[in-house]
């Protein structure tokens, strides 16, 4: 077992030991969203032809759960370890910055996908979206979880208190997720807000992900794939740099 595998496995076990909180709870939350929004909006909102609102909503909720939980995993693990002081056990090891990156982001992807799969399974009792292009679904789920796991890593390194972490989550991650088109198609927005939405990388993750289900999207999935990949490359570059210089973890 190489070092990164040990850290990766430890990070998986860390969230799995409290899976009621880290997997079951977010699945329940997503189902509540679906029940309420689906019930209220089913007959009023028509997004695509031949796609009911509830069916449209499911991939959005799945992706939102993937993103939020990927972020929550790496960010909470690192800030807790920093505040508890047990990050020292990893700092003392020969693990390289690449190993840290792969382990923290990899485990965040696993948690994101686990929750996403859970949401998909539970909502399948109500409605099952079609799976037109499963590879697109997988590609965007992996990239989206990777981006948010990486952002969580960056936020965990940056934040010194739980307070700052909550601010990062509530003022950056939450608005960008909610305003990315989880609950609506951006074509229903006024032109100005459509333009603003196009600046939000989260929009492309969800739009591309939804394309995999319905074969319909607001922008071409190739454009989304390019932009999402570029976003991942940028945040990964930043995270690797911060890990290499020991930003806020090595004095």
């Amino acid at each position: 077992m190489s070092g990164w595998q040990a850290l990766f496995y430890k990070e998986i076990l860390r969230f799995w030991k409290v899976s009621f909180q880290t997997v079951a709870a977010p699945v329940l939350t997503a189902c509540l969203y679906m029940l309420i929004f689906g019930h209220v909006l089913e007959d009023r909102v028509k997004v695509y032809d031949q796609v009911s609102y509830t069916a449209f909503l499911v991939p959005g909720l799945v992706m939102m759960s993937v993103l939020q939980n990927a972020f929550a995993n790496s960010s909470s693990s690192i800030i807790q370890s920093k505040i508890m002081g047990n990050l020292v056990f990893i700092l003392l090891t020969p693990l390289s910055h690449r190993s840290w990156f792969v382990a923290y982001v990899g485990s965040s992807i696993v948690r994101g996908l686990a929750v996403g799969l859970g949401v998909l399974l539970v909502t399948s009792f109500v409605t099952t979206p079609s799976f037109v292009a499963p590879l697109w679904i997988l590609a965007f789920a992996l990239l989206g979880a990777g981006i948010l796991g990486t952002l969580g890593l960056i936020a965990g390194l940056w934040a010194e208190k739980f307070d700052q972490m909550a601010a990062f989550q509530n003022f950056i991650i939450m608005p960008m997720t909610f305003l990315s088109g989880v609950f609506y198609s951006i074509h229903s927005l006024p032109a100005f807000w459509q333009g603003v939405s196009h600046l939000n990388p989260f929009f492309y993750m969800i739009d591309g992900f939804r394309y995999g289900f319905f074969g319909v999207s607001d922008v071409s999935p190739w454009i989304s794939l390019g932009l999402v990949s570029a976003t991942f490359a940028v945040v990964a570059g930043i995270a690797l740099h911060l890990l290499r210089i020991g930003y806020k973890i090595r004095g």
Binding site: A6, L7, M84, N86, F89, L91, L92, P94, L95, G251
Partner: protein
């Protein structure tokens, strides 16, 4: 090649009140197989020096090598050589003792390490705690796990940063027996401690730090020889006259005077009698490391011959 080589290590922290120099040109070598003690009062820079050695912090200037591996430029190799027991009592609340040790082992790329983990658990009196969650352990037990975590990859150089702070007698005994055994087997040990008795008993060589500088560096036996050879010790109910008090070390009722010979001892006792005081439980003992330590720390200028 020395086990650890400190080469003019300096560290300056930027604080709200301006720069603070925690270490100032610290240089000395620790040879392979030594049991070395690093002493100094709180804030002398011991933990800062160990943090830089362990790669938790960076020197402002100078460098440290572990078996020839620079702790910054060749960090991975240097860290494989080191087993560091941190001063803070930290633990990961998600895991039990065996899991914590298996993971720590894994981070160093050591697989199938359960035989050695079992040996560590047995040697440190943790065998019956292997499956207990870290949260359920007492402070002393957590300290033992910290030691086991530091040793899980069989490092040739063991660094203990005040491992016995706030620890009961039994654990101290267990711990020192185990560390002394590892030292006999060839492991190099670097220890910081506030218990000078322990340092005197265990360490072959000592360095004393004061305000970030090495103010003494010698074999323990030579340091003891260099100090005043005797200490006059007695108990007193009243207060000493100021002239005498300045030369004495006073701990509650206990008064101690460093003295080189019988004449000096007589002089002190006479002075006490002349002041109209009555000394009880008078005894004369050999100077110990605490006397050396207080002597060195009391001097204003660094002792001569600090550079190796």
């Amino acid at each position: 090649m020395p086990a650890i080589s400190f080469q003019s290590v300096s560290k300056t922290y930027q604080t709200a009140r301006g720069p603070f120099q925690a270490l100032d040109g610290v240089r000395f070598d620790i040879e392979d197989g030594e049991f070395f003690g690093l002493l100094g009062p709180n804030g002398a820079g011991k933990t800062t020096l160990i943090s830089i050695l362990a790669g938790l912090s960076r020197a402002t200037s100078g460098r440290i090598e572990v078996h020839g591996h620079d702790v910054q430029t060749d960090a991975a190799q240097a860290r494989r050589q080191l087993g560091v027991v941190p001063q803070e009592l930290v633990f990961d609340p998600f895991f039990n003792v065996r899991e914590a040790l298996r993971f720590q082992s894994g981070y160093f790329g050591v697989r199938h390490n359960d035989d050695w983990i079992d040996e560590l658990l047995a040697s440190l009196g943790l065998a019956d705690k292997a499956n207990s969650n870290m949260r359920q352990l007492s402070g002393g037990m957590k300290r033992r796990v910290l030691v086991a975590q530091a040793l899980v990859h069989k490092p040739p150089v063991i660094v203990l940063d005040e491992p016995t702070a706030g620890v009961d007698v039994e654990l101290r005994q267990t711990l020192w027996q185990f560390i002394a055994k590892l030292n006999r087997q060839g492991h190099t040990v670097l220890l910081t401690t506030h218990y000078l008795e322990e340092a005197e008993a265990l360490c072959g060589r000592l360095a004393m730090l004061k305000q970030g500088r090495v103010v003494a560096l010698d074999r323990t036996s030579d340091l003891l020889k260099a100090a005043s050879s005797n200490v006059l010790r007695f108990k007193l109910d009243a207060e000493l006259p100021p002239v005498l008090a300045r030369q004495a070390r006073i701990t509650g009722r206990i008064v101690q005077f460093p003295a080189n010979d019988a004449l000096e001892i007589e002089r002190y006792l006479a002075a006490v009698r002349e002041a109209g005081l009555h000394a009880e439980d008078v005894e004369i003992r050999k100077a110990d490391l605490e006397d050396v330590f207080l002597d060195v720390m009391g001097q204003d200028t660094p002792a001569a011959g600090v550079t190796p």
